[in-house]
């Protein structure tokens, strides 16, 4: 036993080790790694209690949960909640709001960090580049509540700076915060301000790996800056763009609960309400647990399908994909 379990070799793939391991019985390996398994306990309990028990709680979507009966004794209703949800006019409102926000996000926000990274990559003065990077990463660490609060303070019609400004020059005020027309542009602008700078990191990291010799060779071949960007820089970040696009597709029904919740009010609800805020309003504030669980489940199933689907597509087109 002694020689079979020199534990120092753990973690290294050595042919002798695997040979010896085959001789080890399961029980022996369990005993040898006793402390490792003990260390696993807190983390395993965490995933069990806070991740897997809620997954099993999804069954609520197929029951009619009554608080006085509890989880076990409440009646099964099958797909009743889903049927009610799909027949509800709210369903189309939620789907439209969610998809439109995602679409605007994809068109206006998604390319922004790519363009910004390309611009940054063209800066030769490394001090200037680093200073700009330091500045544009700041908003990422500011909480959504602060972002929304600042928007309120600046945009309110009661003494907000932007409206005071508008009033001085045009004599009119715009009610940005409760006008349905301004809701989507505001959300996208906030997202661009908060995450555009941070989003460049992953592209800049990919670009840092590009061999300078490639550019030098291109110069020798007579390529100008645009050609260099087109033929060297962009292909270098192509797979990163595709992976991020896959991730974005997977979260197409996720519009960021906090942001929407904070910016939404009774007046812009018709364009603001999305799946997550709807689940919150019905489940947490009104106590319709089963119905809101069904809505949440619908959203996650579409989400997983989207991730797996786009990943499959990416592989089909010769990209490496995520899984």
């Amino acid at each position: 036993m002694k020689q079979a379990s020199i534990p120092g070799l753990a973690g290294r793939e050595m042919p002798t080790r695997t040979y010896r391991e085959r001789r080890d019985s399961r029980w022996r390996r369990l005993r040898r790694d006793k402390w490792l398994y003990i260390l696993l306990i807190p983390g395993a309990l965490y995933f069990l209690i806070f991740k897997y028990v809620p997954m099993w709680g999804i069954l609520l979507a197929f029951k009619n949960y009554q608080p006085y009966l509890g989880f076990w004794k409440s009646d099964w209703v099958g797909f009743e909640h889903f049927r009610v949800f799909f027949d509800n006019p709210d369903f189309f409102m939620l789907l439209r709001n969610t998809l439109l926000l995602s679409f605007y996000n994809l068109v206006f926000f998604f390319p922004a960090p790519i363009i910004l990274a390309l611009l940054l990559n063209e800066i030769r003065l490394s001090f200037y580049k680093r200073t700009i990077q330091t500045m544009i990463y700041v908003p990422h660490f500011i909480s959504m509540v602060i972002v929304a609060s600042m928007s309120y303070v600046f945009l309110t019609t009661e003494g907000g700076a932007v409206n005071e400004f508008l009033y001085t020059f045009t004599g009119r005020k715009i009610d940005f915060l409760s006008s349905p027309d301004w809701f989507r542009p505001l959300i996208i602008l906030q997202t661009i301000w908060k995450e555009c700078g941070w989003g460049t990191i992953i592209f800049l990291a990919a670009l840092a790996g590009v061999d300078v010799e490639q550019y030098e060779a291109a110069v020798v071949d007579g390529a100008n800056r645009w050609r260099q960007i087109w033929h060297i820089t962009l292909p270098a970040i192509r797979s990163t763009i595709i992976i991020l696009l896959i991730l974005r597709m997977g979260t197409i029904l996720d519009n960021g609960f906090e942001q929407i919740f904070l910016m939404m009010n009774a007046l812009n609800r018709e364009v603001g309400e999305v799946f997550d805020t709807y689940v919150y309003a019905l489940g947490i504030t009104q106590g319709a647990f089963s119905y809101s669980t069904a809505v949440g489940l619908f959203k996650s199933v579409i989400g997983v399908t989207m991730v797996l689907g786009t990943n499959w597509l990416a592989k089909k087109f010769g990209e490496s994909g995520l899984y």
């Binding site: 209690i49 910004l116 200037y128 003494g159 005071e164």
Partner: protein, 294 residues
């Protein structure tokens, strides 16, 4: 690389590029600078000028006012408590799980890893999680702000990958000297991982300080509201009073509402600004480590 300069068109592009990026950099900070300036302003100034970066008179009245009652102070206390304790819990759970998971020949490792990755793809959702918290009697306790997010699966996998890449020579030497598995983690692995742990300490801490969602869901008692929830009540809903004029000296003029709100925003952002230089030093590393591999 100056020899890459070819023609006038490219020089024009370069000048343009420097200017544009300069503007973008300033735009990232500008709203916050306006808020800081506005928080020091007096009533007269706010009605005179809508936007300004340097107030003509610096008044601390807004700050004196918001700290005149313990509403803000108490919520700062809650946030600090949750941030400190929560981050310690995060580190303990993440490290104790990442260490065994980094051992390639641990029996059942792949199964556990796949179960963890699955939680990144699919989850029970808001309501089932809420009900679990309720059944555990964690509603309206600060535990509800700490335990449900004890591990971020993403961070766990990055730390695990980092442990996996550590050189094993020292580990082997320590084992031969009779070091136990726990001693090894404590004396060899953790000291070697200081930079990566510093990164995640900061990430987790910022996450706790900025967390609004959990408190919105799980905390109803205003006494236990963290600063982010209090901020929303004061600035966005105007439902909570930030200060109390009756506790101030006679003759104290109530500062303009805009200044009070801006002062509260500054207080909520200040801690982030204080750790930002450290974040800056570490986060690029954190993102680079982010490449997930089995």
């Amino acid at each position: 690389m100056a020899k890459r300069y070819k023609n006038a068109g490219e020089t024009v592009f370069d000048v343009f590029n420097y200017v544009i990026l300069g503007i973008i950099g300033v735009a990232a900070l500008l709203p916050f600078l306006f808020v800081v300036a506005g928080s020091f302003a007096t009533d007269a100034e706010i009605t005179k000028r809508a936007v300004f970066l340097i107030p003509s008179t610096i008044s601390l009245d807004a700050y004196r006012f918001i700290f005149s009652t313990d509403t803000i102070m108490r919520s700062i206390g809650v946030s600090v408590y949750v941030t400190v304790l929560g981050t310690l819990v995060n580190l303990f759970f993440t490290v104790t799980m990442a260490y065994p998971m980094a051992k390639r020949n641990l029996m059942g490792r792949n199964l556990i890893l796949n179960l963890i990755i699955f939680t990144m793809l699919f989850g029970g959702g808001m309501i089932p999680t809420y009900l679990v918290i309720r059944e555990l009697h964690l509603l309206d306790t600060l535990g509800s702000l700490i335990l449900p997010g004890a591990i971020s699966a993403f961070n766990l996998i990055i730390v695990k990958n980092f442990f996996q890449e550590l050189p094993l020579e020292m580990e082997e030497a320590a084992r031969i000297d009779g070091c136990t598995e726990l001693g090894l983690l404590w004396r060899i692995v953790l000291p070697l991982s200081k930079p990566v742990l510093a990164t995640f300490t900061l990430f987790y801490a910022v996450g706790h300080w900025n967390n609004f969602f959990s408190a919105l869901l799980y905390i109803n008692d205003p006494e236990k509201w963290p600063l982010q929830v209090m901020l929303r009540q004061i600035v966005m809903l105007s439902q909570a009073a930030a200060g109390d004029i009756s506790t101030m000296d006679p003759g104290f003029v109530q500062p303009p509402e805009q200044s009070i709100k801006m002062a509260v925003i500054v207080v909520g952002t200040l801690p982030i600004m204080c750790v930002y230089p450290f974040l800056q030093k570490h986060f690029a590393k954190g993102v680079m480590l982010g490449s997930i591999k089995g």
